[in-house]
Every structure is written in C-alpha cells, then in structure tokens.
C-alpha cells in the first residue's frame, strides 16, 4: 500500500488539507489505532496527515474558573503523570493509566482514544463522568458538544468532512466529590476492556448523593451513561444495598454484544460486579474529600 504523508504545522493548514482530500485522507495522531487499521487493510487512504507537529493541539491548562483544557495531542503518558490532573481530575489519569502498556501510552493520544470511537476506549467513560466537552474545528469554524454526544456508533463520531477534534474542556468539579474508573479485562490493562466503569459521586452538606454519574464502556455501541441507575441514587443516603441496586440497574441498561472477548451475558454480569465496586470506592473517596475539606 502506498500513500502520501503530510505534516501541517497549524490547525488551519491541516483543515485545508483534510478538506482537499476528503474521504481519501486519514489523520494520524499517535498511530496506535491507525497503523493497525492500515496493516489490516481496513482502510486504504491516499493521504495520511499527521497532527504531530501542530503545537496548538498540545496544551494542558487550568483556567481561572477552575476548568481545565487538554489538547487532543496530549499523550496518555503525559495525561497520566500530569500534576494538573491530580485530585479533582484524577479520574482522567485513572482512565489514561488503564490504556495498555507504557510503550503504547507514550505515543497514544487522548484525542485519538476518543476519535477512534471504540466502545471500550478507556479514557472515555472517565471523561464523560467528569462532564467533558469537546471542541471541534472545521472548514466552517468551531463547535462544542458534550463528549457523550460525540459518538454515533462503534468507530463512528459526529466529525464531518474536514473537521478535527482539537481539545477537551473539563468543567471545575465540586470539591465534595470523588471519582473512580475500573477496567475489567482478562489480562488487566494490557488487554482490551470487557467492561469499563467510571463513576463520580458528589455529596451535599448532609452527605446525601447530590450528583451521580455512572458511565459504562464496552457494553453498548458507544460509551454511555446509565441514567436510570444514576437517577435512582440521586438524593439518597449512600448505602451498600443501594449501590447493589444501582449496579443491577446499570446491568439492565447496558446493551452488550457477544464477541471473541466475552459473551453478552458475561459482560452484563461484569457490569453489575464492577459498578458496585466502583460506587463503593467512589463513595469512600467522596466522603474523605468531604471530611478533608470540612
């Protein structure tokens, strides 16, 4: 297979090229998904356009309002080890740290993980649980949407011809909250998730559950929130039996398929197990943060 290789230095230049080649071009970030697809002949692009030397895509900034902006080209290793992402944003670090091995994380990017749109992408549930928004830039300007709405199916996103994902925006989280991501795979993080569960809990003054996010990966065509389970918990006193009930609801809301990694039944069962564990752990963290901050 032969293709031409381009290396634009600005977002504008990149979009121009993308618009020119249309369907015939593939964007290259870290390449850990793209190269596999090229090798397996799943795609045969005429042009490969690298995002590697566009500095605008590599930022990582805490804004004065406490929100955070992460450029699409930040590698997972940078994300996982960033101090800016400690504490409130730790969920993102957990998600990034669950992706494969250090060798892969050294080149794989946060943007690539979303744009590849695998149902089992490990950073996505964590980002959705934190309420992440994405910024998309294209020939007609930029637009913003919540990450949950970015995915339209396995391998499919809302990105239109000529568009790229430039950055993630994470709103400032409440201090009385905690978050946990757990990945379950036969061989741990070096393996592809059978299920990934991110949960985030915020407690109100009376230690009741004020805000609840439960996001599942690997058990539906796209990573998604399980809203019945979330709604059931909101306003409640956190209790072990409640978490179990929520886990049961989450399992019922999941829509897994059977494939070479696991059957649908097994995936559903694992949703139940790991949602319960993540809720328990998240609650402990939220309670500690609550106490810690007074």
């Amino acid at each position: 297979m032969r293709f031409d290789f381009y290396e634009p230095t600005t977002i504008g230049e990149c979009i121009e090229m993308l618009t020119h080649f249309g369907q015939e071009a593939s964007l290259l970030a870290g390449g850990t998904d793209l190269l596999v697809k090229l090798r397996l002949r799943h795609i045969r692009p005429q042009a490969v356009i690298s995002l590697g030397v566009i500095d605008e895509l590599k930022k990582l900034e805490r804004k004065s309002d406490g929100s955070l902006e992460i450029g699409a080209m930040k590698t997972l290793q940078e994300v996982e080890s960033s101090n800016l992402l400690a504490n409130e944003f730790d969920l993102v670090r957990q998600g990034a740290g669950c992706v494969s091995s250090i060798q892969v994380r050294n080149v794989a990017t946060l943007g690539g993980n979303s744009c590849n749109a695998s149902p089992s992408a490990d950073t996505v549930p964590a980002l959705i649980a934190l309420g992440a928004e994405v910024q998309i830039v294209g020939p007609h300007g930029e637009r913003h949407l919540v990450l949950e709405d970015f995915f339209t199916g396995p391998g499919e996103t809302v990105l239109q011809k000529g568009e790229i994902l430039t950055e993630f925006k994470l709103p400032a989280p409440s201090s009385h909250s905690g978050g946990t991501y757990k990945k379950y795979a036969i061989r741990g993080e070096v393996d592809i998730s059978i299920v990934g569960v991110a949960t985030r809990l915020t407690l109100d003054r009376n230690h009741k559950l004020q805000e609840v996010r439960i996001v599942l990966g690997g058990v539906a065509p796209t990573p998604n929130r399980v809203r019945r389970a979330e709604d059931m918990l909101v306003g409640q006193d956190p209790r072990e039996e409640l978490f179990e009930e929520a886990a049961q609801l989450a399992a019922e809301e999941s829509r897994p398929i059977s494939d070479q990694r696991a059957t649908a039944q097994y995936r559903r069962e694992m949703v139940k197990v790991w949602t319960r564990y993540t809720l328990q752990e998240t609650f402990q963290k939220a309670r500690q943060n609550h106490h810690g901050k007074g």
């Binding site: 297979m1 061989r187 741990g188 393996d191 070479q260 696991a262 059957t263 097994y266």
Partner: protein, 788 residues
C-alpha cells in the same frame, strides 16, 4: 554400555552445567532462520492467499492481475503443485475445494513482502460455499452434515476410512479382560464426558524457511522445521529431486512443541524457489500460525469406571474422539492419545475405543504429549470424582490402583520403570493436600488439587552420531536431532565431555546439516536424550577404541589396561602419555597410511542407536507385549484461588514432580518442568480457538492469550521435584521429560477448583466465563432446590 574401565564418579553428566548456547542466545548472536535472510541479496518473499470459508468449491481463481504487478516473480495455485501428497505435510495449496478457513489457495513470490502482499490482494477467487462440519462427534456419524474431503483417506491410504463413516480416519480398539463381568462386580459405577479445546503451540518463532534453487537443479533449505533428514526426504520425494542434490540445514529453532514436526512451509517455498529459479523466504505471520499451522488435537472422552467399595477399579470403558481437523497429516486412530489412559493404572478389564475424525477446522497434530494430556484430563478428574464418591482420599485411591514396576498394563506390556506414585506422594506432601485452605473474606476462594499422568515413548526411527577427536584433545560432536530450545546441544556436549573426561569447554557441537551431520529422525516423543544420546555414547566409545588401539603399540600395553582421560592416555599403574603424542607428524620418510594416528587428522567415531521395535498388536484387541518403548511419569499439585464474582482463577502455587529417569542436566529438567507448567496454565484456564462459521475470530496474541508472568505463580512458589526411576538402557538411566510436564496440570487445576468452590468443570479451558456460568447455574439450582 559403560566405557569407563576405571570407574570414577561422573564429572559432567548429572550436573547443572550452563547451556552451551546460553551466551549466544543472551547476546542475541544466535542465528535463527529469519536472521539468515540478510545473506541473500535478491531474495524473493512469499505471501499466501487463504480461504475465508471452512468448506467451499473454488469456482473461479484468477491470478492474472497479480502476475502482472511489477516485482512479482512467480505465482502458483493448486494446479502447480505436485500431485503427490505426503502425510508429513498438509496439501500445499487447495485444488478444487478448500476444506478449512485458512487453507492456502494461491501464493506469490515477489521482490519484497509488501509487493507480495499487494499481489495477493489482486487475486480474484469465487467460492461456492459447501456444507461444513465443525464438531467431531457430529462428523463421525454415518451420515455427517458434510464430508470434509473425499480424498483425505485415499491420500493417506488409510484402511479404516470407509464410506459408512466418511470422516473417520481410524479406530483403535483395546479389549482387555472382561469388562461386563467387571462392571457386574462393581459397587459403584461413575460415568462422565470430558472435552478439551483447540489450542495453538504458540511457539515464539513462527515457521520460517529459506529455499535456494541451485544451478544444478538441486536445492538448499534453511529451516526451523524439525528433522533435517525427514525434510530432505519429503522434498526430494514431493518434487522428484535427486536425493543427493537436496541439502537441509537447521539453525536454532525458536520452539516447536510438535508444531514443526509437520512441514507446512518447506514444500510451498520449494515450489516457488524452483519456479522463480532463485532464493525465496517464507515466514508465517502470527495469524497464519493460528490458521494454517498445526494445532493441538481437541479430544472428547467418555469414561465409565467401576470400582469396589475399597477403591479397587474393576472395570473401565472409554470412548475417545480425537478431532484431527482438516488434516492430511492426521494422527490416524487416536491410539497415541488413548495411551494416556493405559499407562498409569492397573485396570484388568478395560474396553476402549478411540477414533480419529476429520472436521472442517484448522488441522491438528502433535502438541507436547500428543493427545495424552487431553485423555489424562478426563482420567484424572474422574479419579478425584470417584474418590469423593467412595469417601476416600484421592491419594489413597490412586495408591490402590497405580501400576507398579514389573506389573502388566492393559496392553499386556510389563512396566520396567515407573516412578509415578512416588511423584504424587511427594507432591501431595509438599502442597500439604491434607490441610484445608484458610479462606479469607472477599470473593476469592482457595483450593488445592493434585493429579498425575504418564506419556509413552514411541520406538521410532534410528539415530546416528559422530565425534571428531582432535590431537589437542578437543572433540566435535556431530548430530542431526533438533535444538528447539530444550537443550539437546548441551546434553550432547555433556555426554561427550563425560565419555572423554574433558571439560565442557573442549567440546563443540555441530548440528543439523544433511551435508555434514549424520542421520537422525527428529526430536519428538521426548526421545532425543535417549535415542541420540545413546548413539553419541557409542560414537565416543568407537573413537576411544581407535585411539587406545593406536596407543597399545606406543605404550606397549594391552588394550584392556588403557584408558583416555582428559587428553591423557593412562596405563594401569604407570604415568601415561599425552594424547597429542599419539598423532604423528607428516614426514616423507614414514608411511602415511596404516593404523597410526596422523597430525591434523581427527579420529572419527561413529555410533548408531535404534530403539527396540514394537510388536504388532492384535487389531481386534489391541493387546501386545510391546506397544511402546518406555514411559515418563509426573504428578502436579496446585493451590489456587477462584473469584466467585468474575470466575477468574489465579494459580498461587505449583508443585511438580517428574520421573524422567536419570536427569543428565537437572537445571534444564527444572526448566522443562517450569515451562511445561506455565504452558499448561494457558491450556487449562485461557486458551481456545473461537470461531464464527469455522473461521477463527481470535487469531492474534491480543485475543488468544497465552500465559505471561502475570498468570504464572511467583518463582518461589513453583517447585520442581525429581523422582526418577532410572531406565536401564537409557544413557546413565535417562528417559525423557519434555512432553510429560503438561499432563497433570489441567486436572490438578480442575480438582483444586472443585476443592475451592464445589463445582466440577469437565471442559477445558476453565476460562473466567465458563467458571462463572457454572457458578451461576449452581446458584440457580440451589435456589430452585430451596423453593421446591
């Protein structure tokens, strides 16, 4: 057979000397087949187009576009292949029908792998799908859903291949004693069905060869296939080449485990080398290693055991169905697998049928143990179930029924060497089987289990070895058995060092080149130490005799008073002389022929060893005083935890005892034990082919998981124990060890799982999914039971 006229304790044999290939391998200097590619400028690279269908007729096959691509040197299809088919190799390319998803349809040799790949993608094939059969039990019926291939039996000339059972490749019957009478006497009868999955050898170095067509019509092949002489014979036979013009060279091999006993890359590479009139290389991708290399035989075992209250087994009936896949190279009648049920216990009334069956799945063959682990899986789970039913300890039940030295097994063979019960006793003691596990809070449940087993050695072929003894006392060893990583070069060097009483550093091994090294078959059935080792001892003694003969004159002493020790000729009761002084310098005044030794001319010793042949068995009863040669034995104990929420299993501790006869190199025996144990963990809890319409969907290391450090217990928690029962005719009493080290592991794990969670799983692997499904079933049954 000892050569030591003045006996001294062994100096090298029996010692854990470092491997002779260690330095080359750790420094990355050892040459494997693929490393040699750089020696051939203008090398052509081969790629193969493979069938996505399990069974289909090839309606149209158009290679014209591929042939026109610049850089393509040769394109071949089934029509270009020789008509001859050998049972040592699968059909080179499909002709009219493809019979498994993964079978080769066309192949290309091109200037680069990329061009070859591009060319493959330009080939157009039209298939007409045919009915396929994937399940061996369905396939063996008189009117199966599909006939895998009408020609399979004819190709092999298998006599048992009949129109009534068109997919059955063979049937072996054992009829010992009176099984009906036995069952009538039994106090308890237990019947079960067990099965094992299809798995891949997963040797790290994929199959690879380089073939060079020489100007005189001959060829040279460098290959990691096993058995250089066997390949030489195969290639000259298939292509009608003069035997003397075919040379096969075997660099280091990166593992085989039986996979490379079948030669699935060499014939196609030869075909393309001849057509391209050049040098070609053919190296399988990992995906091809799953789809189109050998796999382990999946086996279904029905077992019915009758026992007295005191544990004595009075009758056993078994039906063993061995799935050969779409194999032209099948193990025909399941006899080898079935042997796993015969070699351990004393069962006077034994009625057994084993069948080899073809299915439209990737072909299967030898894999570490040749079917015996699959059958022992059934037997050893059955033994634990029987023990529980009888209220006996599993050790006591086995002790009661195990064969002892000098007794006859069900074939009627007298067992010469059997250390199996000793292995089990040691394992049970080490793992503290009698002490219950201490459970901890949380979802993980602990359990312990044990099992044992044996593996027959096939008395096959013959081995030759040569030594060159030089005047400075250094020795070259020449042989042709394989070095697939198990350490045969080290063992041979140890044997030569021992025979000549020299340090290891003075021995150099030369191996695996049909133009240089003498005949051998291949390394299989764990027989290299025994077969080739015995031949080498003879070669050493032959050279020694020649040297001492020459010394009789110089030393003026009778032959019987002389010995060669570390480069010195020793005469009983006198100081002796240096070996070098026996070698006379060249001079025009002395006769250069004759019996005396010449400077610069090594003494060449030669040895030939062939095992005592088997004695044909009665085809109606399978009875014979000699079915096999000897047996290696082993036992395993494990402690593990099972997660009752996810079904995951973690092995905490493994104890393994082996009876390999005398261990020539204890450290390497430990290596075999640890490696076999790890490999068996994969076969027991992780590995299986997953298919969609017969096409494997998990053909990568990502989705077909082999064990890593993660799945192995900590090094300090794996213990290897030797419990040898030396074999008189083995070199220093050695038998073999390579294949036995997986056998007892899977049943020990299943028995430990039962101990942990009270659930008996009869199908391999014990994957997290399968374990959890069984836990859920049990929960449901228990609840239904409470509610009714």
């Amino acid at each position: 057979m000892s050569s030591n006229k003045f006996p001294t304790p062994t100096s090298v044999v029996g010692k854990s000397v470092p491997r002779v290939d260690a330095l080359d391998k750790v420094l990355g200097r050892a040459q494997f087949t693929a490393d040699l590619q750089r020696n051939f400028p203008g090398l052509f690279h081969i790629k193969v187009l493979r069938s996505p269908h399990a069974h289909a007729r090839i309606v149209k096959l158009d290679t014209s576009q591929a042939g026109k691509l610049p850089g393509v040197r040769a394109v071949v299809t089934g029509k270009d292949c020789p008509e001859k088919v050998s049972f040592r190799a699968p059909r080179i390319l499909a002709l009219e029908e493809v019979i498994w998803a993964g079978e080769g349809v066309a192949a290309v040799a091109a200037e680069s792998p990329e061009i070859a790949q591009e060319a493959i993608e330009l080939i157009q094939v039209e298939y007409e799908k045919l009915p396929a059969v994937f399940d061996a039990e369905e396939a063996m019926q008189p009117n199966p859903p599909a006939i895998v291939d009408r020609l399979l039996g004819q190709y092999r000339g298998s006599p048992q291949f009949t129109p009534e059972a068109p997919n059955v490749t063979g049937h072996f019957k054992l009829r010992a004693g009176d099984v009906e009478k036995g069952f009538a006497e039994a106090d308890i009868i237990l019947e079960n069905r067990f099965s094992t999955s299809r798995i891949s050898h997963s040797q790290l170095e994929p199959a690879s060869c380089i073939v060079r067509a020489e100007s005189d019509g001959g060829i040279i092949t460098w290959t990691n296939g096993q058995g250089v002489y066997v390949i030489k014979g195969l290639i000259s036979d298939l292509f009608g080449l003069a035997v003397g013009k075919v040379r096969v060279i075997n660099p280091y091999q990166g593992g085989s485990f039986g996979s490379r006993l079948r030669h699935y890359v060499e014939p196609l590479a030869t075909l393309l080398a001849l057509k391209a009139r050049g040098t070609v290389q053919f190296t399988y991708s990992r995906q091809e290693m799953y789809l189109a290399a050998s796999t382990r035989l999946p086996v279904v075992t029905y077992i019915k055991t009758g026992a007295k209250k005191d544990g004595t087994i009075v009758a056993q009936q078994m039906k063993i169905i061995v799935d050969n896949g779409a194999s032209y190279a099948a193990i025909q009648d399941g006899r080898m697998a079935a042997s796993g049920a015969v070699c351990v216990y004393r069962i006077a009334n034994f009625f057994m049928d084993s069948y080899g069956v073809n299915t439209n799945t990737p072909w299967a063959g030898a894999y570490r143990g040749l079917g015996t682990p699959q059958v022992a899986w059934a037997v050893e789970c059955q033994m634990d179930m029987l023990a529980e039913n009888l209220g006996m300890s599993p050790i006591e039940l086995r002790r009661k029924n195990v064969l002892r030295r000098g007794e006859k097994n069900a074939y009627g063979e007298i067992i010469e060497s059997i250390g199996v019960m000793d292995c089990l006793e040691k394992v049970a003691q080490e793992i503290k089987l009698e002490e219950p596990c201490v459970q901890e809070p949380g979802p993980w449940r602990k359990g312990k289990g044990v099992a044992m087993g044996g593996k027959q050695n096939t008395p096959r072929g013959h081995s030759e070895a040569e030594v060159l003894v030089h005047e400075d006392g250094t020795v070259e060893v020449l042989y042709s058995a394989d070095e697939q990583g198990m350490g045969s070069e080290t063992v041979m060097a140890q044997i030569a060092a021992e025979e000549f009483r020299i340090p290891m550093g003075q021995v150099r091994v030369r191996r695996g080149d049909t133009a240089i090294t003498p005949y051998d078959t291949f390394s299989a059935s764990s027989f290299t130490t025994y077969n080739t080792g015995n031949a080498l001892r003879m070669a050493c003694q032959d050279a020694m005799r020649q040297i001492l003969q020459a010394a009789t004159q110089k030393m003026e002493a009778p032959l019987d008073d002389l010995a060669l020790v570390n480069g010195k000729i020793i005469v009983k009761g006198s100081p002796g002389m240096a070996l070098a002084d026996l070698f006379e310098p060249f001079s025009i005044f002395t006769p250069q022929g004759g019996a005396s030794l010449k400077k610069g001319t090594p003494v060449r010793g030669r040895g030939v060893f062939a095992p005592t042949p088997a004695i044909p068995w009665d085809p109606q009863t399978g009875l014979t005083p000699k079915m096999w040669n000897w047996y290696q034995y082993n036992a395993c104990g494990v402690e593990l935890v099972v997660n009752i929420e996810t079904g995951e299993i973690k092995i905490l501790q493994g104890v393994f005892a082996a009876d390999m006869g005398f261990p020539i190199n204890p450290k390497m025996c430990e290596g075999q034990i640890e490696g076999g144990f790890g490999m068996a963990i994969g076969a027991s809890i992780m590995e299986e082919y997953i298919y969609e319409n017969g096409l494997m969907t998990n053909c990568s290391y990502g989705d077909y998981r082999i064990p890593t450090f993660r799945e192995m217990p900590l090094r300090r928690n794996v213990k290897a124990i030797f419990s040898p029962d030396p074999l008189p005719e083995g070199p220093w009493g050695a038998k073999g060890i390579g294949e036995g080290t997986m056998i007892a592991v899977a049943p020990a794990i299943a028995n430990a799982v039962y101990n942990a969670i009270g659930i008996r799983i009869k199908d391999l692997p014990l994957s997290a999914e399968r374990v959890l499904r069984r836990i859920k079933e049990k929960e449901k049954n228990d609840q239904d039971f409470l509610h009714n």
